[in-house]
């Protein structure tokens, strides 16, 4: 049923992504592809992967933005983008067949590939571009929050996290229950002033983003002076070479 669940367990599984830490290595994107190509929505089709026009299904993508302030200073922010498993998911309510649904027990938004008719309306309804159409199988696919990994009893407990979280080398991605105010992820959001993407779209996304720190713009007094260091440590030979080369 593509009405959103009226009752909820209160559990809202999701991700918290720290834009201050992310270095834009794309490990989350590739590990997502690796796990999911044999998972719930398998395969994550690749078309012409080694040709001139490679195309395919990716649930996780890393953008890089430049943010320029009024003073003209700019900084680069790496920005992973994936499904936010919204509380008021418009991709679910527009679905005419019931293929797109939100789970009552944990809030994960999934697509049933057996009943999707490929009208593509969910991809039009999602403001975040979380839907990926597979032209090869003719159905819509999306991030499953690794539903086939996080509950998998065959895996050791520490592995039961989404593939993107396990792969992140800098710890920029955290996974947990955002419906529980005492969970680690909820505390992280509170401490770091986590925010929603496009709140004006009214989707109430579950996933949160943590802002980059504000950069310091003034040079600190205790910054070591490079030239002084060189002259202090240089011996007579180096001084002579320096002099000879400086002519």
């Amino acid at each position: 049923m593509t009405c959103l669940p009226k009752t909820s367990s209160g559990k809202k599984l999701g991700l918290v992504i720290d834009l201050d830490i992310c270095v834009g290595c794309h490990a989350c994107a590739t590990s997502c592809k690796e796990w999911n190509t044999s998972g719930y929505s398998a395969p994550l089709t690749d078309l012409d992967p080694y040709g001139a026009e490679p195309d395919g299904v990716w649930f996780n993508l890393v953008h890089s933005f430049e943010v320029k302030n009024e003073g003209g200073d700019s900084q680069t922010v790496n920005f992973p983008r994936s499904c936010l498993h919204c509380d008021d998911a418009p991709c679910v309510t527009v679905c005419p067949t019931g293929a797109s649904y939100k789970r009552e027990e944990d809030g994960i938004v999934l697509v049933n590939g057996d009943t999707c008719i490929d009208c593509k309306l969910c991809s039009w309804a999602c403001p975040y571009g979380a839907r990926e159409y597979d032209t090869d199988t003719g159905v819509m696919k999306k991030c499953t929050l690794c539903v086939d990994k996080i509950y998998n009893q065959n895996l050791p407990e520490h592995s039961r996290v989404p593939a993107c979280v396990a792969a992140c080398p800098t710890g920029a991605r955290s996974f947990g229950d955002l419906g529980d105010p005492n969970s680690g992820v909820s505390k992280l959001v509170k401490d770091r002033e986590g925010f929603d993407l496009m709140p004006e779209q009214g989707c109430s996304p579950v996933n949160k983003y943590l802002p980059p720190r504000v950069r310091q713009t003034e040079v600190r007094e205790d910054t070591p002076h490079l030239q002084a260091q060189v002259s202090d440590t240089a011996n007579a030979l180096l001084k002579w070479i320096d002099k000879a080369l400086s002519r």
Binding site: F79, P96, F195, D196
Partner: protein, 315 residues
């Protein structure tokens, strides 16, 4: 948004078909259109062909047309589902009305009731088509109240021009229908011009800053796309049309869709003769062409919020 030809064809054809039936049903309920059998067969057959080919073309553009029946199940939340249900339910009053008129040749209460129900359900179907677009908050050019008005008025406009042509071809003349066409052309043009003004002068609340949540740090621009080649999102949502082309196409749409059909319809006020007949058919051809251009622009000019992640600064 990428303009899908099947959807443009479907909405133009079924719009004219449903518009025709709305006006025919009202005309019949108030007993102002001719009761002649040739006129009846022509209108019903043409309307059924238009709405049925439209529906089939929209079904065949699905990746899984064999599962299309499932789309009737989610009418509680989905406008696409509602459109499907309404489109099918509407066949019932259409066929009852056609049966009463063409086979029983009756003019009893059941017939009038079927005519009114037919008008109502056809109107609701046009409205539900427009709401598929108007309910999408992600596309500012679509999620506004001009969209349902535009779909309904364009359907009534093309439907009335179509009835006018059928009337003249079957040797009938109805001044009321020519005047209705003129009125619908003016109404639809005013709505469409207001719509174009609206999308030029306003934009979505969403920006590159709200999309990334980095607005508090400054102005956001893309330095690197996540992928080197276009993906599904860019192919489907990334369609961009140059403003100068949009302006030109808009002028073509206004001329062909509204101005020329208006002038040609004035000629049809002359009554049943060869000039009127040719004018009414030409008015129909120009009007449908103008609507196709209008609908193409409706997609091509619409900007989706996902493009804010790919370098667009506004949506």
């Amino acid at each position: 948004m990428h303009p899908a030809l099947s959807v443009i064809f479907f909405t133009t054809a079924s719009g004219a078909g449903y518009g025709l039936l709305v006006l025919l049903g009202l005309g019949k309920a108030f007993d102002v259109v001719p009761h002649e059998l040739s006129f009846g067969v022509a209108t019903i057959v043409i309307a059924l062909v238009l709405i049925t080919t439209g529906l089939l073309s929209s079904t065949f553009h699905l990746g899984h047309p064999e599962r299309a029946w499932r789309a009737l199940s989610q009418w509680r939340s989905s406008w696409l589902s509602r459109e499907g249900v309404l489109a099918i339910v509407t066949y019932i009053p259409i066929l009852l009305f056609a049966y009463d008129w063409l086979l029983l040749e009756s003019v009893d209460t059941a017939y009038v009731l079927a005519a009114i129900l037919m008008s109502l359900f056809c109107l609701l179907t046009i409205y539900s088509t427009s709401m598929i677009y108007a309910s999408l908050k992600t596309v500012h050019a679509w999620s506004n109240h001009w969209v349902p008005f535009a779909y309904v008025s364009l359907a009534l406009m093309s439907g009335s021009i179509l009835i006018n042509a059928i009337l003249l071809i079957t040797g009938n003349y109805l001044a009321l229908m020519s005047y209705s066409s003129l009125a619908f052309i003016v109404i639809a043009l005013i709505i469409k011009l207001s719509y174009w003004r609206f999308i030029r002068q306003t934009q979505s609340l969403s920006t590159a800053e709200t999309a990334s949540g980095l607005g508090h740090l400054g102005k956001v621009s893309m330095v690197q796309s996540p992928h080197s080649q276009d993906n599904y999102l860019l192919k489907e949502m990334g369609y961009q049309i140059a403003r100068k082309h949009a302006d030109k196409l808009r002028r073509i749409s206004v001329m062909c869709g509204f101005v020329i059909p208006f002038l040609l319809t004035i000629i049809t006020l002359d009554g049943v003769n060869m000039l009127s007949l040719c004018s009414s058919v030409l008015a129909l051809i120009f009007c449908l062409f103008g609507i196709i251009v209008e609908r193409w622009l409706f997609f091509a000019e619409a900007k989706h919020t996902v493009m804010l992640y790919y370098g667009n600064t506004s949506a």
